[in-house]
Symmetry: none
Subunit: 214 residues, 2 copies
Amino acid sequence: MKQHIFLTRRSETLPTWNAAFPGASLLPYPASGSQLARPGEAVIWLHVAGDKPDPALLVQEVAGLAPGCCIVVLSNVPSDEEGLAVLEAGAVGYTNALAVPEVLRQIASVVENGGLWVGPNLLQRLIAGMATRSTQVNSSHLDKLSAREKEVALAVAGGASNKEIARRLEISERTVKAHLTAAFERLGVRDRLQLSLLINGTPQASSAPPQTLH
Amino acid sequence: MKQHIFLTRRSETLPTWNAAFPGASLLPYPASGSQLARPGEAVIWLHVAGDKPDPALLVQEVAGLAPGCCIVVLSNVPSDEEGLAVLEAGAVGYTNALAVPEVLRQIASVVENGGLWVGPNLLQRLIAGMATRSTQVNSSHLDKLSAREKEVALAVAGGASNKEIARRLEISERTVKAHLTAAFERLGVRDRLQLSLLINGTPQASSAPPQTLH
DNA sequence: ATCGCCATTGAACAAAAGGACAGTCAGGTA
DNA sequence: TACCTGACTGTCCTTTTGTTCAATGGCGAT
């Protein structure tokens, strides 16, 4: 069990923190210059309230003062954006400052074992946003389609209905469906919306760095 | 402590599973029709090997047989793509089938408390991918929507189906539709595809007919 | 306390989308 | 010529989407 340090602005400790980690230290956080803990031997619980000092910058600063330590951010007003920001800044956990002791201990055990902790809501948003773009992005998707399929696919990507496309291309609605089915198959998507995302390059996941880290 | 059920194709149990949960059940998984467990009272460990039966579909099928239960996927050949797929399908955890007992128990404790479990690698990828993208979503339109409508609209813009969104937000599919109908109305679009184009800021204008009718 | 907004859901319904199976026709190639 | 591919179409059927009508409960404002 590593040492637990709570960093907060107002030097008051929340009852839940004590309940979770009776032996933890409490420090005011503009801890200038001095080292906070022996490298890699502590879990830093960083309490942020609002965005006065940018939480992400704060995380980076604290990371400098406690190299190798896990930083978990406790937010008074949690939001997906803030969570995203601090995690990107190097925090390994993000949760509500009022989380119950069980959850705090849960988080501790996860991060102490090298894991990251993200709340279900944020996580699901991440998954939702990522899921469609993970499937093999090649930018030259349209090249995989025949001329006609391409026309139909582009119309769909522009938001047209099958009926509209049929009228526009002067073919039956049935044929539009046939071309679409072929396009879905060839591009490996399951419906017109994902086809649209693919063609419109909405994913742009190709630019996301692989990130091997830690 | 909930009941633990391991579903696997070959009816052999891995030593690590036993070590982690001595009292767990082991079942072959094409368990047709019959209910697997009392609703919400079990953790289902779904063992997948390769992609013969699509893991994501399998998750959905099992979810139907064990409503309210947590499904954790154990993969013989884990990949970010597979993880993403099963999590999107409703699984609440994804890890290597050979994970050591400590990790399995860790995962169990997380999901039993309503959390999602995603390995550090995949999670980092999600965060990295999201952080670069989250700024470019067209928020001006989203401001016209209520908090809940926004969540649904964003999921749709990411390519999710109503069923998936319902599962993700833990509401009925009917409610998803209600939020969507409201969002269409407020943003002046006629269906999910055009909503996606609007939110993702896709410049379509030229090819997409205004179409007020209906 | 009444009003309006929001979140939620049910039932029923209509329309759109998509899959399965089957078939014609034109053009190019082994 | 036999074979293949792409474009095109039909019918039948299932699933998904979206609407209409209707209702409940929470919550903040007047």
